[in-house]
Symmetry: C2
Subunit: 331 residues, 2 copies
């Protein structure tokens, strides 16, 4: 596992350095507090997966210019802004192993700096001549917000369906990653089929990425992920492992197990370590973990298949490795 | 006073009805909770001054189409989104006489529906062919956020300068109103000098509007404004009446009065009705109220002067009346 991660990191080392520089340069001219707060979350070991995708997708289509780094920051800023607003919404306390913004500063700061980063993305996008980029940003913003609102409405909803879950993660995660990939193709003036293929790659990667993330909430420990395990459950956020296990238990008329799971879900912050262990056992029993992993694998396969039309290249290899890594990562 | 308000309202009755319809139509297709929450704040007696300005500025430049109503909603949505985020930041409890969103629903809802409205403005702007409109939106978003951040940083700052105050209200209020007016001219394909004149009108109107608003916090009663008087003071938000009075008292070495004012400011939520009355007396003594009114009047005069280049018309009269009304309004 660590091997694949190291392989990817050394393959994209220069790109990551350039992205880091662009992220910093595009924030630097602003008031002290903005830079300080934004840096707290921006430069605390994030994976830069979104801007990296833009850069790789531009290169796989033959792009050799420098614009891709600047434009790629848009997707990291949008992601960060969304984290800042979501952490507030979720009342999370840790993010990437560090206290979240609104715990260190306050709600106001989290809201306003998030707004500022969104405004920044628009200004950066305007420096680029294509209207399609603004369209992509508008679509992402509307979609992410709708995804978060769906998630909020559905909190604690004990009969959330797989379909509702898929719709939510599509809106809150996959559309952004699709946009990051599509934009790379756009910067390279790629053909329409190429742009569509990379958009598909991004969409399926995003779906896999979120499913894997939701899985980690049950399978990781906080040392690795920087988050308390079971955080989703404590917030009343039902994800695929739970949805599937509940559905299977209901189908088999295992009423005691259904009730046990539902009771734990309703406890929210009152969930103990023992509750969580028992709940996890039921997820295993009813195949929730296994099913989610399989669904994520299918998405990874579809992501890789979307790359078929591209000839072999350094970038194609990295994009394939990134898709595989989705399921291997521990954080 | 009421006479001028009635005169304006009857002069723009049809425009206001069309704007109301456009505001409603552009939100209607979205999920139930979005519409419900957005309606709570959108349709609770707001003055629609921003979209009205877009429509009037389009018409004064000869525009006769229908696009102005749709585009004008952008500025009401941006304003509403900013109110939702600001109320959260300010920890306000009343807005337009009704409980604020985050008191009725919760922080999450205020943040997300605000984000959604901002996303909506982008999508509406994209339906229009001019890139300048996106530029205006980007400028407004960045500016409003910076204004709010400045305000947040400066909370409780006892030696805030008039210059810092002017910079803040420019960013948080005047740039938006300027954008609303400039956009009207753009829709009408106005000449560059016409567009600039209307942008200037909007800028000065916005400055006057915010000064008058800050004045009302000391001179109105809550029955009229739907806000508790002294709210700014309780939040540690120093506005022009206070800044000027403090400056004058310091210049005259009236150390006891300076200390009395500073002590009250530091009390924040602990300010009693008697404290507030005594504080208000000191504002009068040192000319803070009078000075702010005079500064606002100057802005109104500059706003009206910017209209000089336009021949007499129904719209010109209304725009002039709106400027005058800034200083007469009680809410």
């Amino acid at each position: 596992m660590t091997d694949l991660k190291n392989k990817i990191l050394s393959a994209v080392n220069d790109d990551l350095e350039n992205i880091e520089k662009a992220l910093f340069d595009n924030l630097n001219p602003f008031a002290d507090i903005i830079t300080k707060v934004a840096n707290h979350i921006m430069f605390s070991g994030g994976k830069r997966i979104r801007p990296l995708l833009t850069v790789l997708c531009a290169k796989i289509c033959g792009y050799q210019g420098e614009l891709d780094k600047t434009i790629s920051t848009i997707f990291e800023y949008m992601h960060t802004a969304s984290l800042m607003h979501d952490d507030l919404v979720d009342e999370a306390t840790l993010r990437r192993g560090r206290p979240v913004i609104h715990a260190v500063w306050n709600n106001a700061t989290a809201v306003l700096i998030g707004d500022f980063l969104l405004a920044r993305t628009l200004s950066i996008a305007l420096s680029y001549e294509k209207k399609e980029l603004i369209q992509i940003i508008a679509e992402i913003t509307e979609s992410m917000t709708q995804g978060e609102i769906l998630q909020l409405i559905n909190k604690g909803k004990i009969d959330l369906s797989e379909e509702e879950y898929l719709k939510t993660i599509e809106k809150k995660t996959a559309i952004l990653i699709r946009g990051a990939c599509r934009t790379g193709a756009m910067i390279a003036n790629a053909t329409e089929p190429e742009e569509k293929a990379l958009a598909d790659y991004g969409y399926h990667l995003g779906m896999a990425f979120q499913m894997a993330d939701d899985l980690l909430d049950y399978t990781s420990d906080s040392k690795d992920s920087g988050k308390k395990p079971g955080a989703d459950l404590r917030e009343g956020k039902l994800t695929l492992p739970v949805i599937h296990a509940l559905e299977k238990a209901r189908l088999k008329n295992k009423n005691d197990d259904v009730k046990a799971m539902e009771d734990t879900i309703k406890k929210r912050d009152g969930i103990t370590a023992v509750d969580f262990m028992l709940f996890n056992n039921l997820l295993e029993t009813y195949g929730g973990i296994e099913y989610t992993r399989r669904m994520a694998e299918e998405q990874v396969d579809q992501a890789k298949a979307a790359l078929d039309r591209f000839p072999l290249s350094h970038e194609k290899n990295v994009l394939r490795d990134l898709a595989d890594y989705t399921l291997l990562r521990k954080t």
